[in-house]
Symmetry: C2
Subunit: 210 residues, 2 copies
């Protein structure tokens, strides 16, 4: 039995949960938070980060590593394109979204959701406005052009690129913001469509009701 360590609110833990749901893999879920971790947690995840996947003594940190591993042991349905050039591009979108997009959107999430909920602190609205007006628009401009009017970010199938590109927008919603559909209509429609998948929807609903 696989065990997934990491609180579901993390955009990276959510990536893995969506991949597990797409592949219909059963797992135990331990909602480890990424601060104040017990010393034992660093033995399975040396940087203390979430998620981490374990099976007996074997441990694998990092959402990208975990999903690549799951593809090897449960190849169907495939979450990586079979065409090599599309495969490379899907990995690139995952990398871009796991860094640039997550950093920008989780600024809003951290200030508006994490600080009040977990640390009893007020949000820094100046930092939020800077993210909303300076950091996020160029990222959405880039994604708007890359997605265009296509159903998926890469090729003609749902892939790891779509998981990585849409997970951080759940955090944006937890931060009480949404994509301006007038300015970025392609991204807004795409994210809503991907979030409605049978694998994704129950995960978001569980978070929203939590």
């Amino acid at each position: 039995m696989l065990t997934l360590h990491g609180v579901g609110l993390s955009p990276f833990v959510r990536k893995v949960r969506v991949a597990l749901a797409e592949k219909n893999i059963q797992y135990e879920h331990i909602p480890q938070v990424p601060f104040g971790q017990p010393e034992e947690y660093f033995k399975i995840s040396p940087l203390g980060k979430i998620p981490c996947l374990t099976e007996g003594d074997w441990a694998l940190p990092d959402s990208s590593c975990i999903i690549a591993y799951l593809e090897r042991v449960h190849p169907e349905p495939a979450l990586y394109p079979s065409d090599p050039k599309e495969f490379g591009r899907a990995l690139w979108y995952e990398e871009y979204c796991d860094t640039k997009l997550v950093n920008a959107l989780t600024t809003v999430f951290f200030q508006r959701f994490v600080r009040p909920t977990f640390f009893k602190q007020e949000a820094d609205e100046e930092m939020i406005q800077k993210a909303l007006t300076e950091e996020i628009p160029p990222i959405l401009d880039y994604l708007e052009g890359e997605i265009g009017d296509r159903a998926f970010l890469v090729g003609s199938h749902f892939s790891i690129a779509d998981i990585a590109a849409t997970s951080p927008f759940v955090n944006f919603a937890h931060g009480k913001e949404k994509i301006d559909a007038g300015r970025w209509p392609n991204v807004a429609a795409y994210v809503e469509r991907i979030h409605s998948r049978p694998s994704y929807k129950p995960i978001i609903e569980e978070e929203m009701s939590g």
Copy 2:
């Protein structure tokens, strides 16, 4: 024909050059530096980072994405373990070394090599000492235990894990530092052994003579 964009001194560009050499793939090399990039460069590498691989109109940034792509189009010799659990662990070591190890070792490289060479500035020795005494030792302790007395970081073959774990130590050498072989004998012997591979040695020699 493939074109690799990125100056060879980058630990990430070096990763790709070693992978290309291991697979005996010919390529054109454009030594793009990661600052003051022309506007066109952001069209192929949206974050402005190096390396980026191009073939005609197709572009792929990021060393991890590039090497994963190369494995798909030139599978032999394999740079990723065939066993799924070893495959996952190899990706994890790559992620750990590309972030934690690179950040720590390139502090020394940036201060002692990049600042004097490219910016005509003096090294910040206080920052270097902090890296050498506080940041780097726990990382070497971790790698020392993971490698043990084995030839390779994962399984019984050379892999992406070995490329990622050893490339940043070339930058450490450019920063006039080396691993204390008394304190970390396994890591010191391992890095020296991997750097001596026929794929790796000419790349390091070219840098050292540059």
